[in-house]
């Protein structure tokens, strides 16, 4: 038992600070991806309501692809595909040489696309809860399209979308563990390294699971707060 504590301690020979650093990387990645993914998702949801059938079709194709592909495959396609694409572009411009695409950036793009596809469904459901009268009233008040979206539609949208978005966030948080496969040193990667060095897989993989559980629990609290805030002007019934 003493062993386990010293393995996880923050002092010399312990892996505590390494795991904490990994947690920070996971959180940074997830928090950077979150705004990218949900706002892209909102854009896709608005596209799906467009009057032009071509724009609508583009939205459908986007969600079908990124909801249907395994996250691991999306990540590898972005990572290797991006590398090849940039290499070709650079070669066309006369630069020959190896280019390594940043794993963090690949993660933000890949997970952002997946999050956009899933959150667009949430946004679409939320958009349906807003009655026509709200738009009409806003335009009767002389608000521009953008202002009426920002001041009238969006606050109501957030209220309806938050529970769904919180699910999306929890999925994202867990999906980021896949980034360890392209050697970004997040919780999972740090755990793998610790296991390699100490030969204590039980201890460290359990610890990793509990760190993710803690992060999920913490997010739960944050979302309860946000939901209360979003509902503060809302009278039930």
């Amino acid at each position: 038992m003493q062993d386990i504590f010293s393995l996880l301690s923050f002092s010399e020979g312990g892996w505590g600070s390494a795991l904490a650093a990994g947690t920070l990387v996971t959180l940074t990645l997830a928090l950077t991806t979150l705004p990218v993914g949900i706002f892209l998702g909102l854009a896709v949801a608005l596209m799906a309501r467009s009057r032009s059938p071509r724009v609508r079709a583009a939205a459908t194709v986007f969600t079908t692809i990124f909801r249907g592909l395994p996250e691991l495959l999306t990540l590898l396609i972005v990572y290797y595909g991006g590398q090849i694409l940039i290499q070709r572009l650079m070669a066309a411009m006369g630069y020959e040489g190896q280019i390594q695409i940043n794993a963090f950036l690949a993660g933000v793009i890949a997970f952002g696309l997946v999050l956009a596809a899933f959150s667009s469904e949430v946004w679409m459901g939320a958009l349906n809860t807003i009655q026509r009268g709200q738009y009409e009233a806003a335009s009767a008040l002389g608000l521009s399209k953008w202002l009426s979206f920002r001041l009238v539609v969006f606050p109501q949208l957030m209220r309806a979308a938050l529970p769904g978005l919180s699910n999306n966030w929890l999925t994202l948080l867990k999906d980021t563990s896949l980034i360890s496969t392209i050697s970004l040193v997040d919780i999972m990667r740090q755990t793998n390294l610790a296991v390699g060095a100490t030969k204590q897989p039980m201890v460290f993989y359990l610890t990793a699971c509990f760190i993710y559980l803690l992060l999920s629990a913490g997010s739960g609290l944050a979302f309860t707060f946000l939901e209360r805030r979003a509902n503060r002007g809302h009278v039930r019934g």
């Binding site: 563990s177 993989y205 359990l206 559980l213």
Partner: protein, 260 residues
């Protein structure tokens, strides 16, 4: 002729070299998902019932189980089972279970089963809770046994609510199964990575993407048929269109061989 047309879209050389392996990969993925989803739904149903039990200990235990498996990544769970439990070699040898924990295949099956069971438990619980109270009371008034009530009255109605989320969960499982490739299993993803490491041809990843999308689309179609069938009594009044696609004919004869 067909080959020439195919050659316009994909690299034929690559197809000859890796085509069969990809199909085998699809087979492995399908097996992995089918087995773990089926076992997971049995365990999930039991867990869902435990979540609704009158015994506090059962409720608490199943709640903790669901919270653990839904709150941590499948990747961490798989590694915990394969590397973690797999490191306790002497224990498993003594118990005569070493053959199980030695194999990545069984570990992946176990990890996926345990994981999907947690998600399915919540789906079944929601479905069972959605059945109106009066149904249970009416069955009790008729003197039906608790088990009979569940099998004949509650479960079929719960399934109508549960079917759609179960389909989503199946699709999520197909996607999640790609993780098995990280513990040396040659599923579709594993085959793709192997072939890519040999040929460095990026096209292979796009094949995998198309194949995964096809699998997901097939499941969606199949689920739509299942849903129509399970809810057919709800549409008794309306005129039913005559279905004549080969898919519906086939599923009809599979699901209900006596009716002709």
């Amino acid at each position: 002729m067909f080959r020439d047309l195919l050659g316009l879209v994909i690299d034929l050389d690559l197809l000859d070299r890796y085509g069969w392996r990809f199909l085998e990969g699809v087979g492995v993925t399908a097996q992995l998902v089918a087995i773990s989803f089926t076992l997971g739904s049995i365990l999930g149903l039991l867990l869902g019932l435990a979540r609704l039990s009158n015994r506090r200990a059962l409720r608490w235990l199943s709640g903790a189980y669901v919270y653990f498996f839904r709150g941590s990544p499948l990747l961490a769970q798989l590694f915990l089972l394969y590397y973690g439990l797999g490191s306790l070699r002497t224990l498993w040898t003594d118990l005569g279970l070493w053959w199980f924990f030695r194999e990545a295949w069984y570990c992946a099956l176990l990890a996926f089963t345990l994981n999907t069971a947690a998600y399915q438990a919540e789906i079944f619980r929601g479905g069972i809770q959605a059945v109106p109270r009066g149904q249970r009371e009416a069955a009790a008034a008729l003197g039906m046994h608790k088990v009979v009530t569940f099998v004949k009255v509650i479960f079929p109605q719960a399934m109508i609510v549960a079917l759609r989320p179960l389909g989503n969960e199946l699709i999520l499982m197909v996607k999640a199964s790609a993780i098995a490739s990280l513990v040396t299993i040659y599923d579709l993803m594993g085959v793709t990575k192997l072939a890519f490491s040999r040929s460095y041809n990026f096209e292979l990843y796009l094949w995998a993407a198309v194949l995964y999308l096809l699998i997901v689309e097939c499941i969606r179609r199949l689920w739509a048929v299942l849903e129509r069938r399970l809810t057919r009594h709800l549409r008794a009044g309306e005129l039913q269109p005559v279905q004549t696609t080969w898919l519906s004919r086939m599923t009809k004869s599979v699901l209900n061989p006596n009716a002709q």
